[in-house]
Symmetry: none
Subunit: 218 residues, 4 copies
DNA sequence: TATGAATGAGAGTTCATTCAT
DNA sequence: GATGAATGAACTCTCATTCAT
C-alpha cells in the first residue's frame, strides 16, 4: 500500500508535519477498526506506523484528541470516496443504487478499506458522553443524510422521482433504514445478509420515495 | 420463590446468591448507562450497590462476564416490560403503536428506567469483537425483531393488516427503521426529535405493512 | 529497627490502615532525606517499606499529597522529641542550650534520626509554590519560633533572663540566627562547623536576650 | 567588548556564542524563579528566549550543567549590583544599611530583578546533593559573607565601628541573621514583614558589631 | 548556528484480581 | 458470604537528548 516502509536498521528520517499526522490518523483508524476504540492503545498505533509512542503525542495533544480526529478522518475519507462515486452517475436512481451498494458492510471491500460501520458504532458510543465527539458526529451525520436528500432532490429535478415528502425528511427515513440494516449485517448473524440489505434498502427506498422498481433480476 | 425475606428495617445481612446477583446486575446496568461500558469500573458497581469489590468478583468470575450479563439482564428487563405492555392491547395496530412509543428514547422515562438504547449501542460495539456478547446479541436481536413480526402476524390474523411481505421480513424492515431512528434521537442533535421518531416510525410502518393511517390528529 | 521484615517468599499480610500510613510516611521522609524531594520516586518509597507502588497510592491520593504529609510528619516527630527534651530541663538557660544543641545539623545523630534541616530546606522550596505546603509551613514555622519564645518567657518568669524585647520578637531573632547558621553547617564547607554553630548561637542568643554567658570552658 | 551588534529593528540572525549563552542563562534564571528548579523544563527556557530546545543543548552540555550555571549567573548579577551600590557609599554604616536594604526580599523590586532569595533556596537544595553545585555554593556563600566582613573592616578602619569580634566571625553571624530573616520574609506569612526584617537586621547587626543605632525615625 | 522531528526511558496512576481474615 | 489490603501489569504522558537537515 502507500506506506513508506522503513528498511530495517535504517532510520526513516523526519517527515513534514502534515504527512505524519495523516499517517498517524490512518494508522489509528486502522487500529480502532481492528481492536475497537476502547482496546486501542497508543502503542498499537505507534507500532502500526512504525514510530515511537512519543511521536504520537508529539503530533496530537492527547490520546483522546487523536481518537476523535481519527474517527472523523476515516469518515471523511469514506465520504470523499462516496461523493466521487456518486458524481460518476448522472441518474438519480443509479446514484441511489450506488449509495446503497457502497453502504453495505463488507460488500465491496475494495471500496470500504476499513469497516466503516464499525467505526460509526464507535462514534455513536463515544458521542453519547464526549461533547467533542458529539459535535463531530452532528456534522458527519448531517452530511450523510444530506447525501441521500440530495439524490432525492436531483431525482425530482430530472423527473425520475415523483414529488412527495420533503427531501430532508426522506433523507432521515432512508438514512434510518440503511443505518438499521447496516447494523444487522455488521452483526453478522446471517439473518440479514449483505444481499438482503441491498434488496431491502432498495425496496424500502422505492416505496418511501414513491417510484417503481424493476422486477427483481431485471 | 425461594427468596430469603430480609426483615424490613433491619440491616440486611448476607443475602442468598440469586438476589445478590440480580442486585449487582442491576447496579452494573445502571453504571454502564451512566458512564458507558468502557468507563465502568468494578469499584463503581460496588459503590452503587454498597458492597465491596471483592464481593462482585465472588459472584461473577470476571469483570467481562459481569458486563455481558448485565447488558443481557437490562435488555431482558426491557423485553419483559415490553411484552407485558403489548399483552394489554388486543388490537395489532394499538400494539404496534405501543411498541413504537415504548421504543422512543427518552419519551417515557417511567417506562425506560435506563437508557435502553445507549445500552444497545454498547452491545453492538462489544458484540463486534466479543463472541460471547455476539452470541447474546443474536438472541436479543431476534427476540426484538420477532416482537414486531408477531404483531404483524397478529394483525393479519385479525384482518387489521393486509397480507403481503413475509412477517419476518417486515420485522427486519420495521426493526431497522426503528433502530435507525432511535440512534438519531439518542444522539440528540434536535434534527430528529422523539416526536419525529414517533411519527416517522408510524408512517413508515404503515407504508411497509400496507395499511392506512388515520389523518394526523384524528 | 522497628521494621517488620517479611521473610522472603512469605507475604507479610495486611496491616491496619494507620500503621501502614505511618510506615509509608516514615519511609517517604527517609527517601526524601536521602535523595532529595525532587528525586524521590514512589517506587523508592515503596521499596523502602517493602511494598508495591500500588499500595502507596492506595493510602495516599497522590504523590504530591504524600510528600507534603511526609515532610510534615518528619517535622512533627522532631518537634515531639524536642518538646520532650525541653521538658526534662527546669532551667530556661538549660532549655535554650538544649534547644540549640538539638538543632545543630549532625551534632547528635542519635537524636536527629533524619537530617531535619535538609527537610526544612525542601519545605521552603516547596512552600514557595505549593499553597498546601505553604499552609503547613506556616504552622511548623510558628511552632518552632514559639518553642524559643516560650523559653524566653519561662526564663523571665524564673528571673534567669532580664526583661526586654518582646519574647515573640526574640523568637524571630534567635530563630533566624539558628536557621541561618544551620544552613551554613548543613552546606558543610567547614567554614562553620557544628561547634561553631553551637558557640555562635549561644553567644548571639545571650546578647540578644541580655544575659551573661559563663566564660568559655566553664 | 567583542559583541556582534545586531542591527536594531532587524530580525537578529545567528549570534556569537557568548551573547547567546548569557541570553540563555538569563532566561533560565527567570524560569527557575518563576516555576522553581524542579519544574523547569528546557522547553520553558527555550520559549523564554525564543529559540529551539536543540539550541539550548548546543550551548550547554546538559540540562544539569545549564541549571547550575544559571543559578551561579543570577547570583553573580546580584553580587555585581550589590558591589556597585556599596561602592557608592563611603560610610560603613551606610554600606551596612544599604546591604541590608538590598537583601530584603521584595523590598526593592527594581533592584532585585529576580527573586534572588528563591534562587538561594534552590541553590541550597541542590548543593546538598550535587557536588558541582556544592562547589559553586561555597564560592557564592563566601563572597556573600565577605561582603559583610569587608564592611565591618571598613567601619573599623574609619572608626565607625568599635574593635571586637573577628570580622569574618561577624560576617557569619550577621549573614546568618539576614539569611534566616530573609527566609521568613520570603515565606510571606505576614509574621515577618520586609520592614520587620529591615529593622531587626539593623538592630541585631548593631548589637553584634557594637555600635549604637540612632533612635528610630532619626 | 539553528531547527524541530524523533526517540526512549521512565514517571505517576489506574484497576482487575487475589487472598488472608 | 463478605471485606478490603495488597499486588502487578498496563497505560498515558513527559522530557532530556540526539541528529539529519
Amino acid at each position: 500500500m502507500g506506506r513508506t516502509k522503513a528498511k530495517p536498521g535504517v532510520k526513516p528520517g523526519p517527515k513534514v508535519g502534515k504527512d505524519r499526522r495523516q499517517e498517524i490518523l490512518a494508522a489509528a483508524a486502522q487500529v480502532i477498526t481492528d481492536r475497537g476504540l476502547s482496546e486501542t492503545r497508543i502503542q498499537d498505533i505507534a507500532e502500526t506506523c512504525g514510530v515511537s509512542t512519543g511521536l504520537i503525542l508529539y503530533y496530537f495533544e492527547s490520546k483522546d484528541r487523536l481518537l476523535v480526529e481519527a474517527l472523523t478522518y476515516a469518515n471523511d475519507q469514506f465520504y470523499l470516496r462516496l461523493s466521487r462515486e456518486l458524481r460518476k452517475n448522472p441518474s438519480a436512481r443509479a446514484q441511489l443504487d450506488r449509495l446503497i451498494e457502497l453502504s453495505v458492510p463488507g460488500l465491496l471491500p475494495e471500496f470500504q478499506f476499513l469497516d466503516e460501520w464499525a467505526l460509526w458504532v464507535e462514534i455513536w458510543v463515544r458521542a453519547l458522553r464526549d461533547p467533542e465527539m458529539a459535535k463531530e458526529h452532528e456534522v458527519l451525520n448531517r452530511r450523510w443524510r444530506r447525501s441521500i436528500a440530495d439524490i432525492v432532490r436531483h431525482g425530482r429535478s430530472t423527473g425520475e422521482f415523483p414529488e412527495g415528502l420533503d427531501a430532508d425528511e426522506l433523507g432521515i427515513q432512508i438514512g434510518a433504514v440503511v443505518d438499521g440494516l447496516a447494523i444487522q449485517v455488521l452483526m453478522d448473524h446471517g439473518d440479514v445478509t449483505p444481499d438482503d440489505m441491498l434488496r431491502v434498502s432498495r425496496d424500502v427506498s422505492a416505496k418511501l420515495i414513491g417510484f417503481a422498481l424493476e422486477p427483481a433480476g431485471a
